[in-house]
Each structure stands twice: as C-alpha cells, then as structure tokens.
Symmetry: C2
C-alpha cells in the first residue's frame, strides 16, 4: 500500500468535522483559548487555533505515549489535564500508543535494556494506561489508538518514500541529535526515522492539534510538515512545560525520587504535596489544578492579604487526592496530616536547607553532620544504630545509605532535630 | 517477514560453495590473483581473497547496476571485463539490477527528472542490459537478479531494523554526503537508506565479492558491515578506477562526449581508439584488454625497441572491435582506416593541442583562430560557410557551435590545416 494522499480542498482547510451551523461566539472562543493556553509553553499557531474554534470545528487532539509499562506520576498528568480541558470543551482526544516502534528490536544488541514488546504486552500496557488515565480523561471522548494499525501495514518502500520527505540537515537540527552528533555520541540511522513515523501518525489520524512536552517540539513540527506534504491542514502544536519535581529544581521523575505517583496512598500524596515550597505551589496550581484562573487569582490575593499558605496548599493537595482517590480520602488524609502536627510528630516550622551533591550522591551520615543534625559522622552512625534517624518518618537502618540529587524530604534525628532538605545535582 | 539471520559457523566461514576435495595449488592462486588484481584500485582484503581461493571456493561475485535504461560505453566495460575474468576462473557473477529503489518515486516532486520505473520498464531495461553485457559476460555463469525480489517483500519494520545497524555519523563520512552537508545542499533522509539497501543486497545474495567503481567504495563497505551483523563472512570488495575518456583527462562519459559507445560502428570505434595518446593506450590495454599481462609486457618492449605505436594501437582497436562486433568487422575497419591515410585524407602526424575552456564551452570560430587554423574569427566563419571546416571528418554547418570540455578529436580547415585537440574544463 502507498501513503494515501487525501487532497480535497475541504480536508485541506479542516481535518476535523465541521458543524456547518456553528458560528461560535468570539467571547466563547476567547474563553476556550484562555483555558487551553494556561500553563502552555507555546502554541503554533494560536491564530490558526482561534480560526478553527470560531468555525465550530470539533478538533481531533492527538497525544502520543510510550508503549512501555506506564507508571504515571503527577508530571505525566500535566498533559492529561490539558487533554481533559479539550474534552470539556467538546473536542475529541486521541490517546495514541506508539507501539509500532516499541515492537521493533535492537538487532545490534547494543541496547541490552531495550525490551521488545509483544502484541500481548502492548495490549496489557494499554489496559494499565486506561486504568490510570481515565481518572483524568473522559472515556467517552477518548479514542485509544495504536500506530501499528497503519505503520504495521507499511512496506519498506512506503518508508523510503516517507523518509524522502525530510532532510538530514533538518533532522540534525533537533537539539539532542545536534548535541550527540557534535559530541561524537552515536545516533543510529533508525532514530532519524522515528520522528517521521510520529509525524506520519498525525497524517493517518488527521490530527488538528498535537500536544507534547517542550522536548517534543521538533517531532510535533515534523507532523505539521508531513501533513502539508499530504495535502492536509497542518496541525496546531501545543507544547507543555515539564513539571518540576518536589525539589522545585529538576523535572519530576521516578528515577530522581522527586515525584508523586498517582498510585500512592492519600497520606503519601498529602505529605509530599505539603512539602513543596510556596512558589512551587503556584506552579502546581497552574499545571495540575482544574480550577479556573479566576479562582487561582482569588487564592493569590488571599495569600497576599495574609492567609496561611499552608491552608492554600491544603486546597491543592485536596483537589489532587480527590481526583486520584476521592474526596473522602482527601479529607481523611488532611485530618491525619493535621493530627501529626498536633501530636508534635513534625514541627510546622523547620529549617530548610539545600545541598548540591555529586553524581553518586552523598552518604546519609555525611549529610546529617553537614546539616548539623549530628555533631559528627560517628554520632550519625550511632544514632542510626539506635533507630533515631528518620527520613520522611521512616527509620533509616542502612548506615551506608546514599542520598541522591532530586531528594526532597524531612530528615529527623531524635525527637528535636529536624530539617527539610533538597538535594540537587552538583 | 524479518531479516533472516543465518548464523551457522559454516556460513560464517564461507558464503559460497566449497568443494571439499579442492586444495588449490598456490601458484594457480597467485596467477588468479594477478588476473583479478590487474588495473584494480583496491582489494579489501586481498589476504582474505587468497584464503578463499586456496580453499577452492566458487565465489559469488556481485556487481550492482542502475535500473535506468542502459547505454553502455567502454567505461562501463571495465567492470564487465573484471566480471568476465572471474567467470573465466570458474566463479559465479551476479548481475544485480537495483530495481527496488528505481521503482520508488520522489513524492516531494522536487526531482522532476526522476522517472519512476514500472516493473515492465525494469524488465525491458534488463533485456537491453543483457543484449549488451553478454557481449562480454558468459551467460551461463551469470545470475541476473533484481533486488526487488527481497526488498519488495520487506516491511517498514524490517527497514527500521536495517537502519538501526548503522550510524548517522558514519553515513555522513561518505565523501559526497559530507560535502553536501558541509555546503548546505540538502540530503533527503531516504538517501541514507539506499546504502543500507545496497548493503543488505550482499546479505541476501551471500556475496563473497562485490565490485564497483572507486566512487562506490563506501557503499561496498556497508555491505561488509551488514554481512557481519547477519553472521556472514564479510565480502571482499574490489574497487576499479573510472576509465578516462578519449581526452585522457576526464572520466569517460556520454555527456562529456569523450566516449566510445559499445553500439558504435566499427569505423567509429576504430577512429576514436586510434585518436588516443600513446600513454592512454597502455591504460586502455590494462583496463579493457583481455590479453595476459605478459603479452602487454611484450608489446611495451616492442615499442621501446622502436615498433610504431600506431601498430600497437591497431591491436588494441582490433581486440575491442572484435568483442563488440566481430573479427572480420575489425579487419575491415582497420583497412578502411589505413586507406584513409593512404588517400591523404588525414595526415598521420599532426599537431596536438589542448585548451582549457569555460563551463559554457568555446565557440568553434574562436577555437579555430586560437589554434591558428584560421587567421581570425571572420576567416573561420567564412570557411564554415564554404563547408571547409570539419570535425572528425564531419562538416561543420553551425557557425555558432559551442565546443565543450571533454572534446577530443581532429579539427580540419581546408585540405592542409589539421589539429588534434583536447578540451578540458577550466
């Protein structure tokens, strides 16, 4: 099969369905644009998005996801929230699982960690995804698709033709490729094909909008380019910032330990969200809350007038826990959190410190003495032996524990020595 | 279908068939290596070739050809002669027509001259090829193959896997890619896939040897690399120089006009071959003659002892014309050539000149006066009008004729003014 080229002018003007009746009110479109735009990094091109909204188009909003086993944290939900916002505005969201490339092995055997997914594994991962993402998305307005549907039927010839649509020089302009090429780190040829496949997915899906992290901008632009080559109107691309982790410095990531998993217990979530700085709280409100911007403005005004930031943080934590558990669980977590303070289990005010640590981290004893929580490494070792050292309330038993950059939490020695610590990469 | 990986140790040691009885005489192998090596640019690795020959392996010698309509000249026959030499030594030659890529269009529409071949056109071109090349090759020992046989069945997934076997940096080391990238001339992504396809052809064919022009060295090396990835012994690669045209400077090429087409008449061939310099004659003997090196040494000794180079050139012309026509035609062409001199139609000795010309060439009148064949441009115009100016015996009628770099031939004005001219690029 060849690459189908749909070439009617109608499709060129509008990939999605148009309600001919619809002439949407300008104020309504402005309100929609405000919701869509909140917290985004870039919209290319916003004017084009406005035009389609004014026409009353029901947009097809594509977002691609890895086919590898998903284990989502709040960082991932930034984009899910934006997808939900589109759904609330009546648009269709396409949750695209990029299984075509996930099912391709690494025949060089160089990447030993790269696991080739079987169709059964892809299906199982899709189920896991659904269980998680439908806590945010409306299943009725979500198309779950797999790009193997169309890419699995393409021939080598089709792929050569697709590759002919782009140049080596433009591909090498992608930040990470450019850097790796300059540094002499190998880029395998097929890595140049993946952005083409991702771009072609937009053609196959006739996407009106594609969203991704800021690190995806290049790939999203390839989609625009290919749609034009295939006589489709180029998709609008929306990039979203990468959410900072609890430390407020590095991006939220499981491997850095600075994350809130959406499977965590209400108590764990509550404690972690309450640990973030006031500044980061507003960032989280922007990217994670569904409250209208006007409400956020009200909250900000309240804080400026002296309302305790802790109470505002409560509202953030409550909203997020309600979403991934339920409102009752959020209430309970909040009560438990308050009770801990009332029982004096953790002081409301404690010193905050941050340290830059080397690539292999810092030993717990060295960290404790550096922070002045112990007088020396040997006192630290003794306190650990006695079970008097806790991290986020958990006793430390390994005196050789290495603390890594990205850590953000509370260290406690005995009953009176406390410190909230952020570790960053040196 | 996936890329089959044959992985037995036997195949790793030897792609071709081995006659278990055969233990080949060292002297015989040395003689074969001398024949194979004559006129080649490079053999990688000659030691490996020697080993396979000593084992008595019947080698599979692959040479790739363009699927576009062939119109061969002596330049193309350099490699055909070497293929023939392998056949004479008992090996199998694979005449591979790269039709897979020839049937792929240029969907960007940028390359308007690129014609997509239909299967029928590919078949017709193959017939034309056969008519020409079987004047040199032994049909019995020639496999004519098309790479669409295996590439046409590959999926997009297979091609991605194939692409993963090579890096962008190594691809950009290819001379022409490096130059184009540096100069900012676009390289379409699929151009990086073609060397991979060519390399995979060697895997599919289990080639022991691949030959090509020196400009093909990079692609031949990709074949070596891929065979190793697919657990085959890497093919030996043999590069052959590009034959100089009649001018002895630029490579033989139809567009430069300095060629001898294998479809030309015996008289045309004879005249053209007789026009080359004595130095170029030895080059042509090396690359175009089937005579053993010992005979060439004898001819060289004869010339050193005073034999007329013209007579030696007769032998070269006779051999080549016998190959593409027959021996009787070669005799007749030689007699006609001699008769022309005896009738004084062209002096045996005439001045030889060479000129460097600009990209758009030099006007015939300017050239004639520059060479002193006419006193002025206006005399040149007058002589042309009188029909007194000839190029290689053909009257010039167009006074605006532009002479291009690559021209090598005889200019004549009236009955007494002669010059053999070579035009080179400025």
């Amino acid at each position: 099969m060849g690459m189908d080229q749909s070439s009617t002018e109608t499709e060129k003007a509008t990939n999605g369905a148009v309600d001919a009746e619809a002439v949407v009110d300008v104020a309504e479109v402005d309100a929609a644009l405000e919701i869509i735009g909140r917290g985004t990094d870039e919209i290319i091109k916003e004017e084009d998005l406005r035009k389609r909204l004014l026409k009353g188009q029901k947009l097809r909003v594509k977002v691609g996801f890895d086919p590898t086993a998903p284990d989502l944290h709040l960082g991932h939900t930034v984009i899910l929230n934006k997808m939900r916002a589109f759904q609330d505005l009546g648009h269709t969201v396409i949750f695209l699982i990029g299984d075509f490339t996930g099912m391709i092995g690494d025949p060089t055997g160089k990447n030993v960690t790269r696991k080739v997914l079987t169709p059964a594994e892809v299906e199982a991962n899709a189920q896991t995804y659904k269980e998680q993402v439908f806590k945010v998305l409306d299943p009725e307005l979500t198309e779950v698709r797999f790009n193997s549907e169309w890419m699995g039927q393409k021939s080598a010839k089709d792929l050569v033709e697709l590759a002919s649509q782009y140049t080596v020089a433009r591909m090498l302009e992608r930040d990470d490729f450019e850097k790796r090429y300059r540094e002499g780190s190998p880029i395998a040829l097929h890595e140049f094909l993946y952005p083409m496949v991702q771009g072609y997915d937009s053609v196959a899906l006739k996407a009106d909008v594609e969203m991704g992290g800021t690190d995806q901008k290049f790939n999203l632009l390839v989609g625009r380019h290919l749609q034009q080559q295939f006589d489709q109107a180029p998709q609008i691309i929306i990039t979203l910032p990468l959410l900072e982790g609890l430390d407020g410095v590095q991006k939220m990531s499981k491997s850095l330990g600075n994350y809130v998993g959406i499977h965590e217990t209400p108590d764990e979530m509550f404690g972690k969200i309450m640990s973030i700085s006031d500044e980061l709280m507003w960032r989280y409100f922007d990217l994670l809350s569904f409250r209208p911007t006007s409400e956020l403005d009200t909250l900000k005004a309240q804080m400026a007038e002296g309302r305790n930031p802790r109470d505002i943080k409560f509202e953030l934590a409550h909203e997020i826990i309600s979403r991934f558990h339920d409102s009752a669980a959020a209430d309970a977590a909040q009560q438990a959190f308050v009770a801990r303070f009332q029982r004096g289990e953790q002081p409301e005010d404690m010193p905050e410190e941050s340290r830059a640590v080397a690539a292999d981290g810092i030993g717990i004893a060295a960290l404790l003495s550096d922070l002045g929580l112990t007088a020396s490494n040997s006192e630290a070792f003794r306190m650990i032996k006695q079970g008097a050292v806790k991290i986020d309330g958990e006793k430390v038993s390994d005196r050789g524990l290495m603390m890594q950059a990205g850590f953000h939490g509370v260290l406690q020695v005995g009953k009176r020595r406390w410190c909230r610590v952020t570790l960053t990469a040196a």
